[in-house]
Every structure is written in C-alpha cells, then in structure tokens.
Symmetry: C2
Subunit: 498 residues, 2 copies
C-alpha cells in the first residue's frame, strides 16, 4: 500500500533563535516546513499557544503531527508519538469502522455497531420524513452519538486515547453523510433531488463533534448527487474501477443493490431496491452475517441431506443472503422446487403451517428454521430485480456481460456469495467464474485507502465529478426482463450469457 | 479612501436547480462565486447548515457576507443587510476602537477604555513578570474581557447587534497582541527576545473569544519582532511611510517614544522610554487629554498672564503633554525659567512648598494646579531623551534633520502639539514648521485603513518584513547628546538644525 497518510508524523529540527536570528517561533517553524516542501502551513491557535513551551522543552526539536486538508498542511498536534486513523462507513443499517496505525499502515481492528437511527425507520426515506416533521436534530444527534460510541469502543479495545485519533475518513450514502454533517436532508428525496453539498468536506474534529483529537482532520467523501453517495465513490476507489482500461462491473449489495459500470474514461452508476431479500429482510429466518448464521448450503446428492456451514461454528440461528442463494439453488438443483419456486412432490421435509408450505432448514431442540414458499417467491422477485437491473444496465451502454472482464461483488454478499449458486438461479450472469471478485465492505475499504494515501484525494475528486447516474425506475426494458427473471434461472436462459 | 473592506456584502443570484442541473447547493454557490473571480471559497459548517433554507426562502438570491482571509474568501454570514467593522488598538494604557459602517466606509464612532491590565502594572514588563509568576490566564482574561466590554458599549451606543460586527482588525505592541491571542509572552523580554508569532494572524470571531459574529474575520497585525509591534506597522501604514520616495520621520509618543525613519525602500525603527513625562507621568498635575485638561498655553507678553485652553471648555484639572511643552516654552520665553529649567527672579506666582519652588498654573477655589522645579527638570530629561533619540536615529543612517521633508507626530502628542513650542525648548528639530504633520492615534488609523481596504494586507506584510529595529540603549553618541539636550534648547543649538 502506498503509505502517505492524510495525517502523518514529521520530526523536525529547528535552528534555535539567536541574537543573529530573532525569527518568531511560529514563523521559524513555517519556514522550516516550507524548506521541506510544505508551501501552505496552518497552525491552529491552540497549537500556537503550546508551541513556545514545546520548542524550548525539546531543544527546538519537534515531533509534528501534520495533516493534509486540500492544498493546505495543518499542524494537528505536537509532541505525540502514536497516531491512529479511523476509516468510517456510515451505512443505513450499520456503522462500520477500521482502525489504522498511521505509522505502519496496519489495520488494527474492524468494528461495527447498528445505526442508531434504525428505530426511527429501517428505510432511509422514513428517516428523512421524520426529519421533515421536525426530528432532524434528534436523528442527527443519535447518529453522532452512535459513532462516538463506536469510537469509544474502538479506543477502549485498543487502549488508545481519543486524541491519538488524528484523522477520520467518512464514507456513506448522501443522506447519511448529510445527517452526519448536520446538513438539511429534506431536499434530497424531492425532485430535482438536490443535496446541500457534493464536494468533499474537510472538518476539524472539534467542529465535527467526533470524539477525536480536536484538530483531527475529518474528511467526508464527496458524493455525485443525491443518489450516488460517498460510499459508492469510496467503493469505486476500492475496486479500482477508474484505473481500468476496459469496463468492469461493480455490484454493491446492501440495503439497495448499487451497480457501477465503467473504466478510466467513464463511470455510470445506478441503484435499485433489491436488497432486503438478500440481507435478511424477506425470509423470516433471514439474518445478517454474524455468529450462528448459515452462510453456505449444499445438498448431498446421494443422501438428499442439507449440509450447512455456520459462522463461528455455533448452532444455526438464521441464514444470510449467501446462504439463502445457496439454499434456493440446491433446492432447485435437487428438484425440490420448480422454476417458479414452488415445492415439488420430490421435496422432503416440507410441512404445512397455517396453510403455507415450508421447508425445514434446521431443527434441533427448540431451534427450528423454516423457509416458506411465499418467502422463496419473494426471494425470486429480489433476485429477478437484481439480474434485470444488471442486464439492462450493461445493455444500456451497448455492452453485454461477455464484454465485462471483472465483476466485483461487494457489500452484504461480498464476502460469501458463491457465484456458482447465484448463476444457477439466474441472479448473476453466466460468465467465467474467475471474473467474479469479492470485495466485502468496499465503502469502508476505500475510506481506509484514502486515509493511508493522501494522493488519492485528487482521484476521489475526479471520480465524483465523472460519475453519472442512470435512473432505472422508468426503464421499459427492465419491466420486460423482470417478468421472466422471476423464474429459475430465467424464462429465456440465453439472457444470462449476455 | 479605497473602499474594498476585508468583509463585504455581495448579492448573488443563482440559477435554481432543475432536472437538467442537479448541482448541490454549496457547489452551486461556489461555482457562482468562481464566476465572479473568487477562486478559493470556504463555507463554514454552520453556514452550510443554513444554506438550503436561505436559498429556497429567497428564490436562490442571496445576500452574502464575504470575508478575505489571506488568499481565501470565506462566507461569513448570509441574509444580513447591515455590516459593521471594528478597528482596535490595544495599547498598554488604553484600548481604543473605531466603528465602521462597512457599506459606506464611514467611521461611526471612536471609543476607548483603560486597559484593564493596568492594575497589574502600568509598565508592560511588570505584567510579563506577572505572567511568568503564573498570572498569564488572569492577565489575558482581563484584557479580553475589557475588549468585550468595549465592544458591548460600542454596540449599545450604536444600536447594533454583536453579530453585525463581521470584521475586527487588531493592532497593538507585540506583548499586547500576544496577550490578546493567549500566546506565551515569557520569551519576549528575555534575550534573544523571541515572540511566538510575527506574521499576521487570521482568526474566526468565535475562536478569538471576541463578542462578534462567530464567523467574523479577526485580523491581528504582524509584528517585526518583540520590539516592533503591530501598532508600529499599522502606524507606518497610516503615515504612508512605505510609499514615500524620500525618507520621512514618524514619531509616535505613547508610553514610549517610538521613532520610525524610512521610505519605499527601507524602514528603520527604534524606541525609547521618554513617554511618561509627556503623557502625564512626571508632573503631578499631568493628565492624559480628556475634558478639563489644559492642552494649550500662552503667556501674554504685555500682561505676563497665562492664557490656557482647556479641553471641553471646563475648569482645568490638569495639563497634558502638549500643554506642558507650551508651558515650559512660555516660561522660558518670558524669562521665568533659565536654560536649566530653574525659576529665575523674574518668575511670577512662584511659591515655595516643603522647600520646593512651584509655579502656579491655575488657582480657583479649591482647585490649585502647581508645577514644581524638580518636575520641570524631569520634564527636561524627557525632552532631552526624545530629541537625542531623534537626532542619533537620523544621524545613524547618514541623514540630517534638513534631509527630512515630513515629520509625522502621532500618539499622545499627535493631536495637539505645537511644533513652535517643541522646537523652542529643543524637543523637536528646528525645521520648517509645515513639515510637521499631526496624526493622532496612528495605530488605530492604520487598523481602520486595513479594515476598509483589503489590498493593504499585502502592503502590511511587506512592511512587517522590511522594517529593521535599531537598538539605541547602548549608543554612545546618544549619551553625549543627551547631556546637552537637558538644557533649553540645547547647549549646542546648532544640533537642532541637523
């Protein structure tokens, strides 16, 4: 990893003042930094106040904490040895962070909490409605408090002090970063969908309200409008889309499915609501990935028995998106469900509850995990939406799936999805398997990359200006494809190939 | 007066967003300002938070309050119609201010209060000693509180709100501006006399602790070292020294006598403690100029009677520097004191009190203003110091008084001194009278000029870097001249001419 973090330590030795050189302390420091190539240096007042004492205590040698903010370098702190940075992904459902040791570039810890706004509405638009009805301060306050709780936990787990966190990079969808910044979200969901700010925002820690060093650099990713948040820009950085010569596809499955297609010269993005089914919103036994979640499913052809893999190896408590995809593919492959997702006569372990057929995924003692037929139907709607979306998106720029040499899968499905299963049920296109590249939380990964590489700031800006948004909801072709895509794999299997 | 104040109002009409132009609010504003030639625009977070509401309330027309801070333009406030600026001179003895209407450039009010640090020591070095002994926070706090009291009075007198004050320019000696900024003063009086900062400091109102608009631009003049404060730099601006082709002399009499000699190409400055005698420190009846102060004195040759002019026309309560100079000149002219300042037999109205001869300046009812012989002798020491100082200073660069076409007299003597009297007693050089130009509080005047003319910022920087300080205390010639200068006008009257 290129190692020029947004905030870094620089030891500097100043020539002490003398009767021949009466330069003031701050001017002496600025002159020395200019010598090292830093042309615009800012020293905050609280640092100015400590400067003469620190200089004389240390014989005019200083350990400076310097921070890059646009074209300016600021003195963040002095006489500090350990520096940490936090990459932050503010998702609608979860807030995730990664802690970095800035001197080594090592990622020390990943950690997350649920977004404390969820009780106000799992759907982001509900929260914006809440804001319109006068609960903005409450919502923004809950979010900030949640993030600070996360920071407290991270600090406590690593035995570090708040003021040793000297830089934070923040990625999130446009509504989330607006809540974080305390900026009006009311115009975002109303035509013509105007955010308060799109360009990157630099703040000081104290100004941001974060529990970090008061002078810490807080960088909020730029967005490319109301529907292309900083999380997508950050993901594009993580996937390296803007460095590719030929178009690549980048699919981020979170609360929404977000699709990005592009290369060095152009990047197009779009989003659709296909997520809940894949992340735990449709099936009653659906869960996000955590200990006790089934994430992999096979059916033993000879015995017809389910083989499941469970996170942390504990007793199953639910199933996540990747597990659900595996399960539906296995049920279809073993002839237990038909193309429409209905149980066949061959289905084993199917019971009827309240007039609804349900398949037993797991049963032991009091734990019983069932998947109902309507849930499978709903899942097929979701997979249909995702496939149709990808298909129409790729076609809209005159390409076919065959033209695309890399398909990054990020988000909820990024860690665990088995492309084979997804292709089997017609959720992902039928292209050579090695073209699928898992990415995990790409938004968090991009935030970490920028944290550790100030050179990427310009690239982030460039990307945020080149990304165009394609509105898909009114696309006529989408509706046509969608109808057939609700079947396994599709009423027209040839579509899967291009 | 060139009228491009540091902070100004700019009405701007933005094209409203549409489905064809979804630019975010802040980016829309920044783009419009770029169109008007502002390349680097900063919008503080609190303004970002208000921006979408203000834009939509006003049909995308905005009254912007813009502030110049170095090479950056900041949005200070929005939707504000009345803008005021404050020029501030933090003197060791008094804090003076001038209030400006930024839209017209009119100076609305001059106002002052005593420096609340005076009880901690009338002498600045005593205050620095206090700071060394742990009273820094107290001293800095008293100063800030005093300035805020001054601002409250000014606001109340003019019926303006604190947040209508959107810019403050601050001039003061290096110790005073350090106290104002909360910066360590301890190294200033110790060799090699190093301030914390010499370059200009830009702050936000909230950061400075001033009771002004939280985003107001607070500009603190640069200094040219511990002994050449921002007040001198500001005075040089007011006198226009740096625009002169030929050398001019600029004498500022406050607690010290500060002398500046220079032109476009070089400026030299020095200071000496000759002030108290001239401002009220030596004579028991001495006062600073205020109602009831005698500021002009003549002796009617025919009657031998004193004719005095009193500020505000009220009963005399004391005499200020200019009055004292007049009085000593008149007593000498009328033969009542000799060259050494001793009363002659011709002196009228001289009484003896406790073995000391004293001249009756004024007597009516209970008011009795007396000037004693030792006081006259002390005054002569002061005037000797001042003349010798000017003489040696001018000679040190190979010039004579004859070479100097303009002599600015600022500070305590700036408003009222009669050059004729000062020349008569040998305090000022004997050059054509029209060369003397009164300036008043030049530090305050310069602060007001910069407030109303952002173009001067670069000139102030240039001056602060070109000024050199000449240490006079160890000058051998000074001691020689001083001996003779204690007589009226001098033992060698030729010296007065060059």
């Amino acid at each position: 990893m290129n190692h020029s973090p947004l905030v870094f330590l620089r030891s500097i030795r100043l020539s002490p003042p003398s009767s021949a050189d009466k330069t003031a302390d701050a001017d002496r420091l600025i002159a020395a930094l200019k010598q090292e190539g830093f042309d615009r240096v800012v020293i905050p007042l609280d640092i100015l106040r400590r400067l003469p004492g620190e200089l004389r205590k240390n014989g005019f040698e200083l350990d400076l904490v310097l921070g890059v903010e646009g074209e300016t370098v600021s003195v963040i702190d002095i006489s500090r040895k350990r520096l940490y940075g936090l990459a932050l992904d503010i998702g609608s459902t979860n807030i995730e962070c990664a802690l970095f040791d800035l001197s080594t570039g090592d990622e020390l810890l990943g950690w997350k909490i649920g977004n404390p706004q969820v009780p106000f509405g799992s759907d982001v638009l509900t929260r914006v409605q809440g804001s319109m009805m006068g609960r903005f301060d409450l919502l923004a306050g809950e979010l900030l408090e949640g993030i600070n709780r996360l920071i407290r936990e991270v600090c406590s787990l690593n035995g570090i002090a708040y003021d040793e966190i000297v830089v934070v990079t923040v990625a999130g969808n446009t509504i989330m970063t607006h809540f974080f910044l305390g900026l009006d979200v009311n115009n975002i969901p109303l035509s013509p969908y105007i955010p308060v700010v799109s360009s990157a925002v630099f703040l000081r820690g104290a100004e941001s309200g974060l529990m970090t060093n008061r002078n810490s650099v807080v960088y909020v990713f730029p967005n490319a409008g109301s529907y292309v948040g900083g999380d997508i820009i950050s993901g594009i950085i993580a996937a390296g889309v803007a460095q590719e010569e030929a178009p690549v596809l980048f699919v981020d499955v979170g609360t929404n499915v977000e699709v990005t297609l592009g290369c060095r010269d152009w990047i197009m993005t779009g989003a659709g609501a296909a997520g809940p089914a894949l992340e735990g919103g449709i099936a009653g036994i659906g869960k996000t990935a955590e200990p006790g979640t089934i994430y992999k499913v096979r059916i033993d052809r000879s015995t017809g028995r389910l083989q499941t893999e469970v996170l942390a190896g504990t007793e199953p408590q639910g199933i996540c998106g990747s597990g659900l995809i595996d399960l539906v593919a296995a049920l279809y492959d073993s002839g237990q469900i038909d193309q429409a997702g209905r149980f066949t006569v061959a289905a084993s372990g199917v019971v009827e509850r309240d007039g609804v057929k349900a398949f037993t995924v797991y049963r032991s003692g009091e734990v019983e995990l069932m998947l109902t037929e309507p849930e499978i139907r709903n899942f097929l709607i979701s997979k249909a939406a995702m496939f149709s979306f990808l298909h129409v998106f790729v076609r809209s720029v005159g390409l076919t799936f065959r033209d695309i040499k890399k398909i990054y899968i990020a988000g909820a499905l990024g860690c665990g999805i088995d492309p084979e299963s997804a292709i089997r049920i017609g959720m992902l296109p039928d292209v050579p398997r090695e073209r699928f590249i898992p990415l995990g939380n790409s938004s968090l990964a991009g935030a970490g990359m920028v944290l550790m590489n100030a050179d990427l700031l310009a690239e982030v800006d460039r990307i945020s200006r080149m990304v165009t948004y394609r509105e898909m909801n009114e696309d006529a072709e989408l509706m046509n494809i969608l109808q057939g895509a609700m079947f396994i794999p599709h009423t027209d299997p040839e579509l899967l190939k291009g």
